[in-house]
Amino acid sequence: MKAILPEARAFASIIEALSRVVDEASMKFTPEKVVLRALDPAKVSMFIMELPSILFEEYDVEEEVKIGFNTAVLLKLLKRSKRDDKLEIALEEGYAKFSIIGAYSKLYKILNIETAEEELPEPRIELNVNAIIHSEPLKHAIKDAETIGDVVEFSAETEDELIIKGKGETSETETRISKESGALISLEVKEPSKSTYAIEHIKNIVSLTKVADTVEVSFSTRMPLKLAFTILGEGKVTYFLAPKVE
């Protein structure tokens, strides 16, 4: 099996976020796409990556294979990639080979780890608020909230505004994402909703805002938060986080 992804740096940002959620993960290569689903040890968040074969410059996968890896180890290699570098992933005799192809090639050969975990099911969930916003304001809202306390509250009452609040013991920060400011692209509110999430988990995926200009934010009161990032046009990284229930 061999696949060449033209944007190694984008993949590095994805793995960077993933490495903060789990220490080990496995990518399943099928003839159509690459799928990765990981659940954090506390079982409150899930990281899903789907890269269809069309994203790859070369995609040679005849039968389904799995590559299990240590996320920190893979990240170390990927971090060394520069802009315009490509990433080649191949499987050879029990070893996963990751190569950065650019001005010169760097090859990393790691033992394919049998992560031997059950396949995580495709999450099915209906949420009342579905917003598409620019990812920069999301990153800033979360960073602001981090300075105040350890929870962040997402709320939407009308289809004009998405509000992200950071709540601390004695203070609060508020980021209003609206069409006027240009940060809000679309907002559907089936029912006014408000839900709180732990920052220690959300901040892990902030690095994904580097690779996606927009993000789909969905939530319902006392239900999980869903953040979906479109990567390189056709790929998707989705993050689910259980609400913080008092």
Partner: protein, 261 residues
């Protein structure tokens, strides 16, 4: 035999005296009254007049219960000051409970007192919360440092060829740590089970150093001898102490929210 003093439909003067007396003697006080509640602290709230139960415990904890629902509408787990005074302008008793860290003040205005019970209660009973092996595992997975070392949880119920590893962690030095949890005294078969898991892991992991630990309230002598022979470790866990970490709300995992899973 508990010492109980009951005041039925006391006028406000008598109510104030009874409450003051009981407070100074650190008794448990139960008051049924028509009252309003004002809370000021991290946030603030006001509850209009209604008939409620006010509980003041001998350790200074204060709770206010409405006629329905199981949770108190307002509560202070500890207070540094509780006092009651008569407000002649409003013609009501004012009960104030102050907490200093964080600073919170609950002010209860009582317009009508129906019942006051002063009680000196003795409760030496030990509390045993029955927790399952799964709950022990979940508590240790969320708080691995409870095992006495700077562990990081990597996985729980990790599948290996012979079965499932309860807890799969990493220690400070980066070594892989496999933990087998037993709710009761660990016996020889537990040690053998742990050894099987470790041998299975060694087959596909390049790491030479895998630590195996039995976590249990106690271990039999024979099991301990086998443990030492196999270069495994034993960590004693206190089930009662762990039980305190069980969240009564039942913290939900992400999957509890998904449909049809």
């Amino acid at each position: 035999m508990a010492n109980i003093v009951v005041h039925e439909k006391p006028d406000l003067d008598r109510a104030r005296e009874a409450i003051r007396n009981a407070l100074s003697r650190r008794k448990n006080i139960y008051i049924l009254a028509n009252c309003s509640v004002d809370y000021f602290g991290r946030s603030s709230s006001h509850l209009d007049f209604g008939e409620r139960l006010i509980i003041i415990k001998s350790d200074g904890a204060v709770l206010i219960h409405r006629p329905t629902g199981h949770s108190p509408v307002n509560w202070q787990p500890e207070t540094s000051y509780i006092g009651v005074d008569y407000d002649s302008e409003e013609g009501m008793l004012v009960l104030k409970a102050l907490r200093t860290k964080p600073r919170e003040l609950v002010t209860v205005k009582l317009s009508d007192v129906f019942l006051i019970v002063e009680a000196e209660l003795r409760d030496p009973g030990a509390f045993y919360m029955h927790i399952s092996e799964k709950e022990i595992r979940d508590i240790l997975a969320a708080n691995p440092k409870l095992l006495g070392e700077n562990f990081t949880t990597i996985d729980i119920e990790k599948k290996v060829e012979p079965g499932f590893i309860d807890l799969y962690l990493k220690d400070e030095k980066g070594n892989v740590v496999v933990i087998e949890i037993k709710r009761l005294t660990a016996r020889v078969d537990a040690v053998r089970q742990l050894k099987k898991y470790i041998d299975s892991l060694k087959n596909y992991m390049r790491t030479e150093k895998i630590r195996g630990i039995i976590a249990a309230p106690s271990i039999t002598k024979k099991a301990y001898e086998l443990l030492l022979k196999e270069k495994l470790e034993f960590k004693q866990i206190n089930i009662e102490a762990l039980a305190k970490h069980v969240s009564k709300e039942g913290k939900k995992s992400l999957f509890d929210y998904f449909k049809g899973v």
